[in-house]
Amino acid sequence: MKSYMLPEFNVYRDLERCVSCQVCVNQCTYMVHYYDEEEDLVKSREENCVGCLRCAMLCPTKALKIVPNPTSYRENHHWTRESISAIKVQAESGGVILTGMGCDKPQYTYWDRIVLNASQVTNPSIDPLREPMEIRTFLGKKPKELSIEAGSGRYSLTTELSPQLKLEMPIMFTAISYGAVSFNVHESLAMAASESGTYFNTGEGGLDRRLYRYGDHAIVQVASGRFGVDPSYLEVGAAVEIKIGQGAKPGIGGHLPGEKVSREISRTRMIPKGTDALSPAPQHDIYSIEDLSQLIYAIKEATGYAKPVSVKIAAVHNSAAIASGIVRAGADIIALDGIRGSTGAAPKIIRDNVGIPIELALASVDQRLRDEGIRNEASLVVAGGVRNSADVVKAIALGADAVYIGTAALIAIGCTVCQKCYMGRCPWGIATTDPWISKRVNPLIASKRLSNLLRAWSLEIKEMMGGMGINSIESLRGNREMLRGVGLTDKELSILGVRHAGE
């Protein structure tokens, strides 16, 4: 069938600069660039280009320009290029359109319509360069009260504390499975989490034996397919997370295609080589809050009640009620993933239309747990499109204990958000299991980039807190007085629990 698709990008090669070194030919995994021996020229098949910019960034003479194709359909706000192209693709293939990364639609971002406060005159701001600022965070169930025994000048705590995760900054690396990303990326995340005193989440694809030494900084995930889940996996992690849902694709499951299940992936997931790794939406032992409780306590029994158990859900319409049930089911941590949450592969129609923005879900869950007097029973971790330290500060002021970052971490490694993760050919060596391509990520360098990012954000968080006159992250948590909305409706403000700017 003749394809009526226009190339998404144009590749412009400055022939005065190009020296036919063929770096672009070697780097492009989509076979865009090729060398024409007869003419001694490098040429392009631009219909293959995904706009990842690998070639442009590595071209030694800066001879390449990748430009969105200006030839497009007649301008139409309703029938956009995206909607017309989608129909053409489906008319030609009859299939579901896949995509990678998080939702790219502007209408769901509330972070940008919330601003932060700063002290002026009436209370002093704090200079974080001079004074201690506490951003260390503990995740897990907190006691309602503490009882302390005094005896001969010594005091001891008699309340039995639940197991906690200790984070040096309220930021963790979100669930990204080995299989969706390369081993090198998993190792980079593990190394950076260990170096920076935080945690990485294995995702549902198991933990490679070579990374067991980073187990103290791993949150190991258990999902419906139970990939790689055995007693040693539960034992090695610092916490266990039950994955119910994911922000990028609430209500649907995961599916690692058989061709990606190499020998190594098969070993880590503990499944046969070359078969589809199916992780359906429901865990068939969980049909209710009672069943969820059963799995939570199965994990606690298996790990001797020594580790916090987290439950991850996608933010959907009744998140607050669901979260209340999760707390009552015995979870120590709730992870909430919003509509902008990222993925290695999801049907585009699901990614862009199912779920709710994390800001609204977070505010309503935090409020509901407070109203019910059970907010201390579990920590709240949010994920889904956190782009910078201001998003982190706003999330904490809305009630989160910590955030998970995924896309931001991958961007730190090299990702350019071209949204083609599902192709498995990521030219940056990230979303691929191809050993040749994945060598492009050097774990030593990538983990340094990740640690730098965490350091930079931590410094910025301290600056913002200092500006508000707050020297401990505890005083920022759920402190919505530090937030104001801009251009939001009364309803939005009431759900967020913040006042409008100027009030």
Binding site: V89, Q90, E92, S93, G94, G95, V96, I97, L98, S224, G225, R226, V229, D230, P231, L234, H255, P257, G258, S266, R267, M270, I271, P272, G274, T275, D276, L278, P280, H284, D285, Q294, L295, Y297, A298, I299, E301, A302, T303, G304
Partner: protein
Amino acid sequence: MRVSNLCGGVNALGSRVRRIDEGFFEVDAGGLRYKELNTILRILDRRRIHRVRLINVEGQRYIGTGLRNISEIEVHGTPGNDMGAFMKGLKITVYGNAQDGCGNTMSSGEIIIHGSAGDILGYAMRGGKIMVKGDIGYRGGIHMKEYHNLKPIIVVGGSAGDFLGEYMAGGIIALLGLNLDGGSAHEARYVGTGMHGGVIYIHGEVRHKGGEVVELDLERGDRIVLEGLVMEFSRNFDMDPEEILDREYYKLLPFSKRPYGQLYAY
């Protein structure tokens, strides 16, 4: 070793434990909460006790979970849900019925049930054996997968509920249908839905099969495997293997290791 010392910090539970022989203890589970019972088991486990008999079991969950050293548990009564969850290298024999989630995500070991078992038997198990003398509930063997030198096996003497072997990615399920009258069929529907690995041996028709499986006659290799399993089954439950083997069997195999490969545009 004095029994009252055995439970150290949990003295109240110590009276529940009775030494029968060297390395063999009996625990009276009557009226205990699951956490209390499993605490006793973990203490015995740390003392490297090999064999434990549980009596008066009244639906306590997670029996056999998180143990490392105990190699054999006898359960008298009715164990609760998730018996043997995440289990590794242990043998549990139940003289009664088991409930839901038996052998959930187990890695290795053996579960022998002298009665029937509930739903999701052997969820995502990747090694070991489960043998049930009677019937099992819905979704038996769901997500079962084999890996490396591990091959999970479920043998059911009676019949099974719907979705037997759903999403199965390896291992063996044998449904012997010993309680079927001549000519009657298993009630199970959607058998092998989403299956993409492993094999299901069945005696007797099932009401409905999943779209991902194909029905085939046994080959010589299958016969040998089935014979071995039936011999073991009959030994466990004191039955005559000849009688069981002297019946018709067929097998269900998945069409493909990639059941859902054709769904996407690119």
